[in-house]
Symmetry: C2
Subunit: 201 residues, 2 copies
Amino acid sequence: MSEPTDDPIRGAVRQLRRLPGIGEKTATRLVYWMLRAPDGTVPAIAEALSRLSSEVRTCGTCGNLTAQDPCGLCADGRRDPSMICVVEHPQDVLAFERSGEFRGRYHVLHGAISPLDGVGPADLNLRTLLDRLRDGTVTEVIVATDPDIEGDATALYLARLLGDVGVKVTRLAHGISVGTEIEYADAVSLSRALQNRQLMR
Amino acid sequence: MSEPTDDPIRGAVRQLRRLPGIGEKTATRLVYWMLRAPDGTVPAIAEALSRLSSEVRTCGTCGNLTAQDPCGLCADGRRDPSMICVVEHPQDVLAFERSGEFRGRYHVLHGAISPLDGVGPADLNLRTLLDRLRDGTVTEVIVATDPDIEGDATALYLARLLGDVGVKVTRLAHGISVGTEIEYADAVSLSRALQNRQLMR
């Protein structure tokens, strides 16, 4: 084709292909969908993406991604200030909020300790966590890192670090997930479920 | 959560969910990927989408979507002006260009006749096709509509309409696709392949 190299259709396909899980075919399908979409649809999408990079920053308190600092969760006086749930990623906060079970505060590490990837404790958002524990308001830190090697290493590191501060450190229970039949449970979850078995009466 | 309703993260998730095949989970994954992406990535994507709605228009000659009118394919003097390949959608032009087999011109109908959806001949980009046939340069029109009910109806309509103009009208061969083993070929393709069988010697 003798289209110029700055052809907007091909440019949009090329840009969408940068997204994870989106290849040439999906990007092309999305672009042609956009070209047929009602007026205003695509500008609204483009505007929403622009705002992501211009308005979203890190909350200086908990490290969550937010448009305001402190974020809505840190600024919400109705939340229990005595408990902090420590997670690896901002998405994990969303998952907890969906469950509606936790009414305390959060702290986002932005990663987990992974020597293989060159990520050590200094690369995590830990300094502000220690600052938050200084005045004694927080009595329990719930470690909600992922149940994998990096998450386990991070949990152990946090337990040692925060034990020195004198705060109670707990970790999420791991076991077979609700809805999983034992027959189909993976071996690691099943062995965790056995280790963490609860006394019934 | 007490985030304001115009929270840019949730706004971006909501906008991306409008795209076909993208649900809440995928949209959230894409947004958090964008929030971690290197500087300039997301503005470049947003800019490419903005250009789609501001710069892309319909070629006044062939009806293809393009940033320039006439489009690069219509303006390319090296392409054979005696053949026009009629397709339903702009994406079909891309598919032909990928194959590299066709060196003539295109005409995009932007749809196919479908009484059930209320799409008749008047809704297709046909008037400019007749204009293009007027000076006698075009000697063959290849109908490349999809091999489905709507595409077949459109092909039959075109054959009758263009037969009156005195131009040769052909249609793409349908049969089993290259790479398909006969064992797994669908019944309709196999029956088309039988009907369209070629004499070998």
